[in-house]
């Protein structure tokens, strides 16, 4: 349970309830007329305000040991996901790993097979980069008809963090790569012993063995103490609890890259290794399940991203895609990282359909749902990155629609 000091403080307040991640404190009538609480009553690691209630929500799956949770995107402020709200996907539960007993082994088509402790990795040259991770199953309920009730469920398998770790290229120099090497198997230390084959070229370009997330160690749900980071690649490849990298001249064809994470086309054949996430965006305000109180000036806000580079521009439509206006980008665009966008909108009280569209620096334009279905049919499951439509009714109610 929460550390000793907080525990003691907590006991005295056990009767009070507070949202997850927070501690209850009495609210003074006038905070300028009463001393506040002293320093370090929290034991030295702070908690969020008791007035903040957003949480990850879980998918309705038969077992919570192989399932996922959604980031509450509508409540997210800024461009980083708080670590405690990062989306989750595990196939055998969250393991508890003692970093002192954890190793990363690199072997296969290498000069010298080597093992690295977490401490070894921490004393190597490091890089710090901000990237999103998106599950390629994000938005998969929306192919045939609008299904999910809000943006947490339509798009919440997306989170952004600052990641710190060692580039794979740095490790590669330590072990030496054999000439014919082309693929690398990455393996996790969880109950699923999760495995994916990754093109060596990707690993050498920007693959990272991450041990840091948002300034501290990875969170347990995100792979503590080590995870693979493959900027812009589908989330399943960012192997968590990483324990092994096996270099080979061919892919391994694991269950997660054949039975799952392959994209079935209308002709009955399926695409292997659809690894990069397409350009995508979504309006988070206003979005489904919200209510606009009255006509007037609103600030449309949202998130855009691409697995292929920087977001170049975002456009917003309030008439179901007939006309588009450029949105403001709130923060500096970084490669394979989300941006926040916003755009003023004077709502006249008539029904309207809101959309956003992302173009990335390679020129890839986020498709409409029609285009996407024309290209892929209705059964490819993964990589749904079509333009999302939210309908605003005359009464201000917002809902998930296909425009």
């Amino acid at each position: 349970t929460l550390g000793a000091t907080a525990l003691a403080a907590g006991a005295a307040r056990a009767a009070e309830s507070a949202p997850p991640g927070s501690v209850h404190y009495d609210v003074p009538e006038d905070p300028t007329k009463e001393q506040g609480r002293p320093l370090l009553a929290d034991g030295g690691y702070g908690t969020r305000s008791q007035f903040e209630t957003e949480v990850r929500s879980k998918a309705n799956n038969p077992t919570d040991l192989t399932s996922w949770t959604f980031t509450p995107l509508a409540a997210q402020i800024g461009n980083l996901t708080p670590s405690g709200l990062h989306f989750e996907r595990h196939h055998g539960g969250i393991p508890t790993i003692d970093p002192a007993r954890h190793e990363l082994v690199v072997h296969g088509m290498v000069g010298t097979a080597k093992k690295f402790s977490v401490a070894d990795l921490k004393r190597m040259p490091s890089v710090t980069r901000k990237h999103f991770i998106e599950c390629s199953g994000n938005t998969l309920t929306e192919w045939a008809k609008p299904t999910a009730k809000n943006v947490q469920v339509t798009h919440g398998l997306l989170s952004t963090s600052e990641w710190t770790g060692v580039l794979f290229s740095t490790l590669a120099r330590e072990v030496g790569l054999k000439e014919a090497a082309l693929w690398v198997l990455a393996e996790g230390a969880d109950a699923a012993v999760m495995t994916r084959s990754v093109p060596l070229e990707k690993l050498l370009s920007d693959g990272m063995i991450a041990y840091g997330q948002n300034g501290e160690a990875l969170r347990p749900e995100q792979g503590y103490p080590l995870r693979l980071l493959l900027p812009g690649y589908e989330g399943n490849t960012h192997i968590k609890w990483l324990r092994r990298l096996q270099v080979s001249d061919r892919p391994f064809m694991t269950r997660e890259e054949t039975s799952k994470y392959t994209d079935l086309m209308p002709d009955g054949r399926a695409k292997l290794f659809t690894l990069q996430m397409g350009a995508k965006s979504v309006i988070t305000f206003p979005s489904a399940d919200m209510m606009l109180p009255k006509p007037g000036l609103y600030e449309i806000k949202g998130i855009a991203w691409s697995g292929r580079g920087r977001v170049q521009s975002v456009e917003v439509s309030t008439d179901a895609g007939k006309t588009w206006r450029p949105a403001n980008i709130e923060n500096v665009a970084e490669p394979m990282c989300t941006v926040r966008f916003n755009c003023p909108w004077a709502w006249d009280g008539q029904a309207a359909t809101l959309q956003s569209r992302c173009v990335d620096e390679t020129g890839y334009v986020q498709p409409t749902r029609e285009e996407l279905v024309r290209l892929r049919g209705l059964n490819s499951v993964y990589h749904y990155n079509a333009i999302q439509s939210w309908a605003v009714a005359a009464d201000g109610g917002v809902s998930n629609v296909h425009a």
Binding site: N61, P62, T66, H91, G92, V105, H107, T112, A113, K114, K115, F116, S117, D120, L121, M124, P125, T170, R173, E174, V175, E187, A191, A192, V193, T195, P199, Q246, R250, F252, M253, T254, R255, T258, S259, T262, D263, L264, P266, D267, G268, R269, A270, K271, L272, F273, T274, L275, Q276, G278, R308, R357, T362, G363, V365, Q366, P367, T368, E371, L375
Partner: protein, 162 residues
């Protein structure tokens, strides 16, 4: 010039790991028959995947057989039988992750056996088959030719809608 970080990994260090490739590389010694597999399946798998391998939705266990001919239909049914391109994947996955509630608890012989049982129930190999490191990679899966490398973007999306 290296950073002199890390230690050599010995064969013993590597012995606890495995990954099976389609050509059989990585398969352990041992073997298993369909009938031995029936026993393993009944005791260790049926509760979640069903007596008839039909799946048990409440347990999260998918159907393991059926679905042939459905892949280009409106309702494709993807199973080991109908969809998986390589038998090696079944061996690898069951050995690492099944039974779901006792992962990594099966011996190589048990994995050969239950792999043989699942493939026989799917009509992929005969009921009297025995699988081992040499026969398993030779199994031809019904959908072996159903996959292609899908790397790279959908090209029509470049400059679409502009």
């Amino acid at each position: 010039e290296t950073l002199e970080v890390g230690a050599p990994a010995s064969d013993q260090d590597l012995a606890r790991y495995f990954a099976i490739q389609p050509d059989g590389e990585g398969l352990p010694p041992g073997s298993g028959t369909v009938s031995a597999g029936a026993k393993v399946y009944g005791e260790r798998c049926a509760a979640c995947h069903g007596d008839k391998l039909q799946g048990v939705p409440a347990a999260g266990g998918a159907p393991l057989v059926g679905g042939r001919g459905t892949l280009s239909s409106a309702k494709p049914v993807k199973t080991v039988e109908s969809y998986w391109p390589y038998a090696s994947t079944l061996y690898d996955f069951v050995w690492r992750a099944m039974p779901f509630d006792q992962p990594g608890s099966l011996s190589p012989d048990e994995v050969y056996a239950v792999t043989a049982y699942v493939l026989a129930k799917g009509g992929v190999i005969p009921e009297d088959a025995t699988l081992d490191a040499s026969s398993l990679p030779k199994v031809e899966m019904p959908n072996a030719k159903g996959f292609y490398d899908g790397r790279g973007p959908d090209l029509p999306l470049y400059n679409a809608g502009r």
